[in-house]
Amino acid sequence: MTLAPAKYAHYFADFQALSQGPGAGAPPWLKTIRDNAWSRFSETGFPTARRGNERWKYSNVGPIAKIDFGLASGAAPVNASKALAPEYQLDGPAVYRLVFVDGRLHSGLSSPANGSNGVRADSLATTVADGSFDLEARIGNYAPLDDDDGFVALNTAFLHDGASVHVADGHSEKVVIHLSYVTTETAIDSAPKVTHPRTLVVAGRNSDVTVVESYTGPQDEVYFTNAVTEISVGEGAKVDHYRLLLDGAKAFHVGTSRVNQEKDSSFSSASFALGTALARNDFEVLLDASGAYCSLNGLYLTTDNQHIDNLISIDHAQPNCTSRLNYKGILDGKSRAVFGGEVMVRRDAQKSDAQQTDKNLILSHSAEVNSKPSLMIYADDVKCSHGATAGHIDADTLFYLRSRGLDLDAASRMLIHAFAGEIISTVKPEPLREYLDTLFSAAIPDKSLPFGITR
């Protein structure tokens, strides 16, 4: 086994503790995956914003590399986790909830599906143990280690618990899976925590699945969430995906999502980000068979010194696929947003239809956006468009509202809320939509005097 470079010694210690402790009973294939991943990570380490590294050009993960994070143990009290998990109720006959506290499934807060009616939703550890689903063929299949920048490898090296969701072929009844990943408060004298949430969703042929992933933790503590999500959307299946990045203001979050779509499948996603000192949302969809449709929406709101980096890639590998990409950002304070939208249309992907936009509303003089949409088109019969904007609240529009009696604050609040509303309104489950609407409304900075407008 590869030894760790000195600077990753603490990760190596945790890696060994997992392999010899709770992870010791894993089948050989899983151990091999972990070991390979560790080797990979010890070679690559964390990415740097060095020249030529386009994927990390504007984001510096130095602060993550510098801190000696310790693997969260999952021994936290229940009450703490209850207080931190997002509060909204998704109702229905087929709603399953898995709550992970410090990386471990919390059975008391969870309602797994045992597979009896075509739906299996449980912890990876349990699913591995009972062999009810062929995880070996799936795990790491969509988020492979090669070409990785270190974070997927690190996550995979700690593969143990996490969510495994499998909806059987032909199971057309709507299934809702709610996954909460919660980091609890750090005990006094302990190292800042890291968790490596892992999610695998396999939506079988013609299934209809809604997946909500949420990430939360204490407001005022330094911790690190290094999440990897793999989603396979089977032929004719429909997956609605929601990603709620609601980590605390001092937290670091790196999320890698990989989606694979089969023939005539449909994937809609909305990623929301609030809070977090440094957040990365690396989201990739592979349209791997003809007739696939994906719609990727996102909304981020940053203040103070927050930094968010969205890297969204859509690969039109096959003909007759449609993709829609619409991300919106609201930036205040000295915060910074990086947006990379990459749409690739391969040579054989004729009749591809791709649209991407990134719109930013900038509320302060010191906030900054780096938006870099890119289209790489190698087919000739395609319909593609892209656009990025960064603007301020329009003075004339503001006057229109004020002329109806709204003061400057109320008027700008209403316009900012409306700007966010376009993305929030794409959320289909009403309780979730209302929860997000309330959350973002409350997060609109007070006295957000629009740029260039004086009182």
Binding site: T397, F399, Y400, D407, L415, A418, F419
Partner: protein
Amino acid sequence: MPASEKNATPMLSIKGLTASAGDLEILKGIDLDVFAGEVHAIMGPNGSGKSTLANVLAGRPDYTVTGGEVLFQGVSLLELEPEIRARMGLFLAFQYPLELPGVRAWQFLKAGVDARRIHNGEEEMSAREFDQMLKAKIVEVQIDPDLIKRAVNEGFSGGEKKRNEVLQMAVLQPKLALLDETDSGLDIDALRIVSEGVNNLRSPENAIILVTHYQRILDYITPNHVHVLFDGRIVRSGGPELAQELEEKGYDWIKDTVDAGV
């Protein structure tokens, strides 16, 4: 009998108002008194300053007032923020209403109504009461209820936007309404409906200033006074017959008399 003849104080009193945008002097000395119960029509060629006057009164930040004084209900208007003017009962129907993507008409209008009520020391209106009031106004203004469910003015036709301004006016019940070419771009039915909206607001307590290019709306709304604005000044005032005269003779006639110093 109009209040003006009863020696009362005017609701709006403009004295020597001058205003500019950037380096351009647009209003060159406006004097105008408007009494409760009155309707004033302001006419004048393109670019003469009609919209500027209306917007300066409403407090649009694009303009700088360089001189003069305006009293509204006895209060000096020009120092007030636009929202305070609105809460005191001043309303501007925009010549070019703006689109508000994502803003729901319901929230927008309720916020305006509540702001004014709180300003007057009243409670916010209950959602239920507001809902009923809005429904009644939608019927009164004969606007398509589906339009109101959409974001304010987003993708509305020119005429629909104008009707929406009249709906907002009906909901907000201003003391003084400034209508800046609300009649432009309306079909004949819409014109009648808009006129009814204005006539519904007309009362001994309220006043209306109507900026228009056309005699035809004055067939529905008979003004007490007609003024001609020309190059930043009111160069002629009269009764409804002045509008008729303009329609027949055009603005050259005014220009000639102004040039001749008549």
